[in-house]
């Protein structure tokens, strides 16, 4: 079983409500699902969709071809009907669309009427639709009813009841109308599965790493992270500050970090641009900070609600002057969770900025899991505080050590003073002008630290044939689609995937000789959601690696497994 459901319509019509309930329903029922969103930069209207892929087997990417299309308006129906499989079904309400369709597999379900009959208003059409879809799949409503009660928990009981009735009405109608429907859901062991998006996973990872201070300015697609963390403010003792702009956001976070707490900011490309001076400040002051950079298509405002991997080069080189940084690029919500934890660890241990590179596709996609394992988290406070600090004499913030790292004292916790400066400085943190101290500090910051940091970087994920003829290489949010594409290709070829989620510094070749794997393959493709092949360039510049070809997509849309398979086949 592997069904793709798409709910499409105008923003504000309830796409998210229907899709969200279904996603939760399937996850709770024990199915593997993958969801993703496609929406315009507007609050009402336009054409948008929420897509779910449901299976009894793990699914980690989207497909282009649809089994069930739910159309909430006529324009969206026109746009997306071409993606419907021949054997697929379309659900709509001819009354609200002011339009009837003659096709056999187009099911006209009177959402609004059924909603009204269930004692509800037009708005309950969403519950009718949700019930109808489940009816089509021959699934029962029990778990859905619980979900409906939860989502209306703050409303009166009667609203919950009418929504449940509406769902039942839709279900019944569909079951009746669709006697010949070939769609049936396989049964799965019904252990509820965890359902989480990339955004939430980063937020959760931060909270689970002892984050205490988050300052940011709203910007799609990073706002989800802020919302998640804000929701946990009181429970976890976190201050979330909406800054007046991104410059303030990063400088606040650096101030808080200096004062002794784990801090973070998040933004998208345009906001990140404004943060680059602050990034450089983190560099010279050696102040830990985690920055979530959620990419969207640029330049400038670009396509604000769509996806791209177009800011890698910028993240690698942002900020004036030379200083080390770490760039992590999770490929799934699970990776996002653990890598966010790793980001805090590296930032604090090496006193460097760590950038988590995500994008709209990962931010808005939901994956299912058995669960996350908190024993895999590493939280070691690297600060100098308490007794260790109090007993210290003559503390110097930038005392030169073999590793390049000087313990960070918490200011005010002892008589030791903590002096940091954006000018080049001496061991005490005071500004200097001489060449010798400059060399000392540059060596401390760059050449001493970098080798240690690099040791911590994990090898890329390897998946597929042990002797691959075809190697697909990618980074960040394409993890799922690459892996599924390799699965598909494996029927015919010796294929493998190399996926990098820790991308700077590049992993040491000793951990896994990815250069050799790429070199040996007869077809090696670097696959990126951008126009100029930024990761490919990084591998060439830093590791002398070259590919036989590449696949690049820069229309603001993510890769799909079927689409990518076609692209790869065209290059074999």
């Amino acid at each position: 079983m592997d069904y793709t459901l798409r709910i499409c319509g105008q923003a504000g019509q309830g796409i998210q409500t229907i899709g969200g309930s279904l996603a939760r329903y399937f996850a709770r029922s024990g199915y593997h699902i993958f969801t993703n969103k496609d929406y315009e930069s507007r609050v009402r209207g336009g054409h948008n969709y929420y897509q779910l892929r449901v299976s009894d087997m793990p699914v980690i990417s989207s497909l282009d071809r649809i089994d069930i299309l739910v159309a909430l308006d006529a324009v969206s129906l026109e746009i997306y009907r071409i993606d419907l499989k021949d054997e697929g079904h379309l659900i709509y309400d001819s009354k609200s669309l002011h339009q009837e369709y003659k096709q056999d597999n187009y099911l006209d379900i009177p959402f609004e009427i059924l909603a009204a009959e269930s004692g509800g208003s037009k708005i309950m059409s969403n519950s009718v639709a949700t019930g109808a879809i489940l009816g089509l799949l021959g699934m029962d409503l029990e778990i859905l009813n619980g979900i409906i009660r939860e989502s209306f928990a703050k409303k009166e009981q009667s609203i919950q009841d009418s929504n449940i009735a509406a769902a039942a009405a839709g279900h019944q109608f569909a079951v009746k109308a669709c006697t010949s429907c070939p769609l049936t859901a396989d049964t799965v062991n019904n252990n509820p599965r965890m359902l989480i998006s990339g955004s939430d996973a980063i937020g959760l990872g931060a909270v689970a790493s002892g984050l205490k201070f988050y300052s940011a300015y709203p910007m799609t697609p990073s706002t989800g992270i802020m919302n998640y963390i804000a929701d946990k403010e009181v429970e976890y003792g976190i201050i979330v500050e909406q800054a007046e702009d991104e410059i303030a956001a990063i400088n606040m976070a650096l101030g808080a970090s200096y004062a002794g707490v784990r801090s973070m900011t998040g933004t998208s490309g345009g906001g990140f641009a404004l943060m680059t001076e602050g990034l450089s400040l983190a560099g010279i002051t050696e102040t830990p900070i985690v920055i979530a950079l959620a990419q969207r298509p640029g330049p400038a405002t670009g396509l604000p609600t769509r996806t791209e991997q177009g800011d890698l080069n910028f993240a690698l080189h942002a900020g004036h002057g030379e200083f080390p940084r770490v760039i992590l690029a999770p490929g799934s919500p699970e990776q996002a969770f653990y890598l966010t934890n790793k980001a805090f660890g590296l930032a604090e241990k090496y006193q460097v900025p760590v950038i988590i590179l995500t994008d709209q596709y990962l931010a808005d996609s939901e994956w299912t899991y058995d669960g996350f394992d908190t024993s895999r988290l590493h939280n070691h406070d690297q600060r100098l505080r308490g007794e260790a600090l109090a007993n210290m004499n003559n503390y110097k913030r930038y005392a030169c050590t073999d590793s390049g790292v000087t313990p960070m004292a918490v200011p005010g916790e002892s008589v030791n003073l903590v002096v940091v400066d954006s000018d080049e400085h001496n061991e005490e943190g005071h500004m200097i002008e001489d060449a010798a101290t400059r060399n000392l500090m540059m060596d401390k910051r760059i050449f001493k630290k970098l080798p240690h940091i690099r040791e911590e970087i994990s090898a890329p994920a390897y998946y597929g044939s042990e002797k691959p003829e075809i190697v697909l290489v990618g980074w960040g949010s394409t993890y799922g689609v690459l892996k599924e594409t390799v699965q598909i290709l494996s029927g015919e070829y010796e294929a493998a995937m190399l996926h990098f989620s820790e991308i700077y510094p590049l992993p040491e070749i000793e951990k896994l000789d990815y250069a050799e794997i790429i070199r040996k393959a007869s077809v090696s493709l670097c696959i990126e959601n951008n126009a100029t092949g930024q990761f490919e360039r990084l591998l060439r510049a830093e590791a002398g690696i070259s590919f036989t070809g590449n696949i690049r997509k820069y229309d603001g849309r993510p890769f799909s497994a079927d689409g990518l398979t076609g692209e790869v086949n065209a290059r074999i």
Binding site: K212, Y236, E241, E244, G255, S263, E277, H380, G412
Partner: protein
């Protein structure tokens, strides 16, 4: 897995700071610069208020004024040009049991950093902002600043400054800043008194300090200021916003010194429940909660 994260502090007995203990590195200011008066007054303030070097953090941007923290002994965050206020905000919110003072120039604070000033005033965090207002960009050698007099000529304004001079006092009052004062670097007594009042005020305080730049500002000299400054009369009521606004417009022949405006808006630290009991930096991270939070995703 979370052991050792965030230990508690060990306290020691307080000792009395003396003026000589507060000496930082050698100032790189021009001999005769108005900044020296501010340095002395601030050290006096610390001594009088019995604040030890480790008991506060001095935050600054970039400029002649912004070098200030290096010239006293203290915790120091000498950040970016224009960005002292957000850094200070982060520092104070992370540890609101520590005093935070900000030292910036007129260019730093009213020019590059203008947006942060607006919104830091709105937040009303209990910190003191001292603006060394020499009405010029000193460190970069004499360009006009937002408080430069209209019409002055500089190397990059050969036609004279066209923009109207910024009135930081009026602006702060319009933003309902909770403490707005002006002082003069060559009046150590008034300056020390004003600094003390600002630090003692529970809320965000802005002190604009008239500070002669003897090298680049040939208009607003010691004499120019001395001829014009006067103290607000004893009866003056700084809590009346409209009359404070009227008074803040005085500039030219007469320039008022003193607390021009103040109010009793509650400070942010006193309102955010997250830090109502303990400073953020002292709060232990409770890792055991996470498993409960994970359940929310099922």
């Amino acid at each position: 897995m979370m052991e050792g994260l965030f230990q508690l502090t060990v306290l020691r007995e307080k000792s009395m700071p003396e003026f000589k203990d507060l000496k930082g590195i050698e100032p790189a200011w021009c001999p005769g610069c108005g900044n020296f008066g501010i340095l002395k007054a601030f050290k006096d303030t610390l001594v009088q208020m019995n604040i030890e070097p480790h008991e506060f953090t001095a935050v600054s941007g970039i400029g002649q004024a912004a070098k200030f923290p290096h010239y006293i002994k203290c915790n120091t965050f000498n950040g970016l040009h224009g960005r002292a206020l957000p850094a200070a905000t982060g520092i104070r919110l992370a540890n609101h049991k520590q005093r935070v003072m900000i030292f910036t120039g007129d260019g730093d604070c009213y020019g590059e950093g203008g947006n942060h000033l607006i919104h830091t005033i709105r937040r009303n965090i209990n910190m003191s902002l001292f603006v060394h207002d020499n009405q010029i960009y000193g460190l970069t050698k004499g360009q006009a600043s937002p408080t430069s007099a209209e019409g002055i000529h500089t190397k990059n304004q050969p036609l004279g400054v066209f923009s109207e001079q910024l009135n930081p006092m009026a602006m702060a009052i319009a933003l309902d800043c909770s403490f707005v004062a002006r002082s003069f670097s060559a009046d150590p007594e008034h300056l020390t008194k004003t600094m003390k009042a600002a630090i003692e005020h529970n809320g965000f305080s802005l002190v604009d300090i008239l500070q002669p730049c003897i090298t680049f500002n040939k208009l607003n000299t010691y004499e120019w200021y001395k001829e014009r400054v006067y103290y607000l009369e004893n009866e003056y009521n700084p809590e009346d916003r409209v009359s404070a606004f009227a008074r803040s417009l005085e500039w030219g022949d007469k320039i008022p010194l003193g607390i021009i405006y103040k109010n009793n808006r509650p400070a942010l630290e006193d309102r955010n429940p997250v830090i109502s009991e303990l400073a953020l930096v002292k709060q232990q991270f409770n890792g055991t909660l996470i498993n409960k939070t994970l359940r929310e995703f099922y």
